[in-house]
């Protein structure tokens, strides 16, 4: 037992690898099923096929033509990008202040932020609806962008603050001695060094906003985003699984690409500052 080296076929066929294989299968299989089903003929969906035969793009054309999925995609892009941008702007400033500036009440502020980030959406949906209605913001982009920003900001601040804590204070001192003012220091020195943390916060915010359902369903009737749009495909008696799967593949694709590209930042952003705390 212990650390003995495996040799021969034991290097591949062993308990750890077999367990890992089944865990990966458990995660990947639904995604695989989603993708291959989206490329099957809508009429053939009653049978089980592990590989599309024939390949068909009918589900995709139905999603975009019959169900106007393109509009939902655009709405999601606008709302998500705007919310992400706002979260990053405010989150970076707040993360910097909480991580690097001397200020009273930091701990109280951090605890308050944590509490907000743990708040269930369902508890505030009704008062938010009333507020947005009074503002005339129902069925609008800002009716989602502003609440998304408010809800996702605390977690982003937490990530960014922890990341900023890991930047040595000598960086700012050097910049001061070089002649940089506070704004210049943040822009030219701190932000570039905190970029991995910024990417991490961006990924998490983008994913959260892209997949948010409850507020999108409640506040917007006509200006639907992808999750709400997909949920309204079909009729009470007819559920177009193929079309739903096709739309879901399109919805998941940007997230998958982003997370894959920035995967190392996701891990480092979550764990940075863990030692210094």
């Amino acid at each position: 037992m212990g650390n003995r080296k495996r040799t021969g076929w034991h290097r591949v066929i062993n308990g750890v690898n077999i367990s890992g294989f089944f865990v990966v299968l458990f995660i990947v299989l639904p995604l695989y099923w989603l993708i291959i089903t989206s490329f099957r003929n809508p009429a053939d969906l009653g049978s089980v096929q592990f590989w599309p035969n024939p390949w068909s793009g009918a589900n995709y054309s139905q999603a975009f033509v019959q169900y106007d999925f393109g509009s939902y995609f655009i709405h999601s892009v606008v709302v998500t990008l705007c919310a992400t941008a706002l979260v990053l702007i405010f989150g970076t400033m707040a993360g910097y202040a909480l991580g690097r500036l001397p200020m009273r009440g930091k701990f109280t502020l951090m605890v308050t932020l944590l509490m907000i980030s743990l708040f269930p959406e369902i508890a505030v949906i009704a008062p938010l609806y009333t507020l947005l209605k009074d503002l005339g913001w129902l069925d609008s982009y800002q009716g989602l962008i502003i609440p998304y920003t408010a809800f996702f900001l605390p977690f982003a601040i937490w990530i960014l603050r922890n990341y900023m804590l890991g930047i040595p204070k000598e960086m700012e001192e050097t910049a001061r001695i070089d002649g940089a003012g506070p704004i210049r220091t943040v822009w030219s020195i701190i932000l570039p060094m905190a970029l991995p943390g910024v990417f991490t916060a961006a990924i998490f915010t983008f994913t959260a906003a892209w997949t948010e359902f409850l507020m999108a369903l409640t506040f917007n009737i006509n200006l639907k985003t992808i999750p709400v749009g997909i949920a309204t495909f079909g009729t009470p008696t007819e559920v177009p699984f193929g079309t739903i799967f096709a739309a879901s593949v399109v919805a998941v694709f940007p997230i998958g690409v982003l997370v894959f590209i920035f995967r190392k930042f996701v891990i480092s952003g979550l764990t940075s500052g863990a030692v210094k705390g």
């Binding site: 050097t174 001061r176 001695i177 070089d178 002649g179 020195i189 570039p192 970029l195």
Partner: protein
């Protein structure tokens, strides 16, 4: 170029900790002043006050004759090299060096010319387009210095810049730092905890302990004439051997344990204050190199000890011995680990490499009385007049 004058400068933190106490120190134009002392002695705090990174609680700091207590670091025209270099990791070497000039809004071609010149001085020409992460420790150190000297500052500050380097590189870089400092000829404050660095690099060395300046002098004077027990124990490697001793009734000899060392007239003339300590306890200091092994032709006082350990260094033997006397340790001059392993009466001597001696044997040293140091047991001050 400018001078630096600190007059009764104090630093008291919000929690009441008094880090620097009444520090009065001046650095002339082009002078290389080293601040040395154990960790927590206030040397870095003093440096940071000169830089403007810490507020001065009381006292006056002048740079070039002008009071700068309330001026920002930029306004003081100082440049600083940090212990961990503090290079901007996302910028190239050229961008790091030129950043301060860019902030001053110098024309791009002028910045490029200055960066190139600085790169040539420091041997960084081939590395200007690299990022700090691609450089070795020594190269990063040179970039940090380049970033400081390109600005042609009035004062140059360095906070233990060599402490992150390995021993061999540290020796190389010591010479490099001195070469560069002489070239730019600017008042330089250099902070280190390494007394070897202090002795080899400084025009003058300021020894600090617990926020208080102990002594400022040229390295050799500091070595030969320490003002107090702490300076005597801190400066010198191996450290000075310090023993509890008693002056004889006529103050013509000193008793160390069971052994009596007669003091020649020359020694008593150099330390006339010893006459006041007849029959009193004092502390005697003997540098390791002032304890050569006695030969058949040796004259003068002798000291006999038991050999515990012999370190053959090639050029000399370092002999660890014990005598039946109580060793005195100056608080803060040695580490807690060294204090913990200390027994009684240990000493270190540096003798000729051909000395015939074995561990466990007794060895006789011919004491070089010209190098003897004496200290008051209560005030810990050196006894001279």
């Amino acid at each position: 170029m400018a001078t630096v004058d600190m007059a009764q400068v104090n630093k008291v933190y919000e929690n009441g900790f008094h880090a620097v106490k009444d520090l009065t120190l001046d650095v002339a134009e082009g002078e290389f002043m080293v601040l040395v002392g154990p960790s927590g002695c206030g040397k870095t705090t003093a440096l940071r006050m000169v830089a403007g990174l810490e507020d001065i609680t009381s006292g006056t700091l002048r740079i070039g004759g002008k009071v700068v207590n309330d001026e920002t670091p930029k306004e003081r025209d100082i440049a600083m090299v940090f212990q961990n270099y503090a290079l901007y990791p996302h910028m190239t070497v050229a961008e790091n060096i030129g950043f301060a000039l860019k902030l001053r809004k110098l024309p791009k071609d002028q910045i490029a010319a200055k960066v190139k010149e600085t790169g040539e001085i420091l041997g960084l020409t081939d590395w200007l387009e690299r990022k700090p992460g691609q450089l070795s420790g020594g190269q990063r150190q040179r970039v940090a210095m380049g970033r400081a000297i390109v600005r042609e500052p009035s004062v140059f500050l360095m906070d233990e810049p060599l402490s992150n380097l390995d021993a061999k590189l540290r020796v190389q870089m010591r010479a490099e730092v001195q070469r560069i400092q002489r070239r730019i000829n600017v008042a330089t404050f250099y902070v280190t905890h390494d007394q070897v660095e202090a002795m080899t690099m400084g025009d003058r060395v300021a020894v600090m302990r617990a926020g208080v300046l102990q002594q400022v002098n040229h390295p050799q004077n500091l070595y030969d004439h320490p003002d107090n027990l702490f300076v005597a124990a801190f400066i010198g490697s191996p450290a000075m051997n310090l023993y509890e001793a008693t002056m004889t009734e006529d103050a013509a000899a000193v008793r160390i344990g069971s052994q009596e060392l007669p003091l020649p007239a020359a020694c008593r003339d150099e330390h006339p204050g010893l006459a006041r300590y007849a029959n009193k306890k004092i502390v005697v200091g003997l540098r390791p190199e002032h304890l050569p092994a006695a030969t058949d032709t040796s004259t003068g006082p002798h000291l006999v000890g038991n050999v515990d350990l012999i370190e053959a260094l090639g050029s000399e033997l370092v002999i660890h011995f014990t005598i039946d006397a109580r060793r005195v340790r100056a608080e803060g001059a040695s580490s807690d680990d060294e204090d913990a392993t200390a027994q009684h009466g240990e000493g270190v001597a540096r003798v000729d490499p051909n000395t015939k001696v074995k561990v466990g044997e007794r060895i006789t040293f011919a004491v070089n009385t010209a190098g003897l140091q004496f200290f008051d047991t209560e005030t810990e001050k050196a006894i001279w007049e």
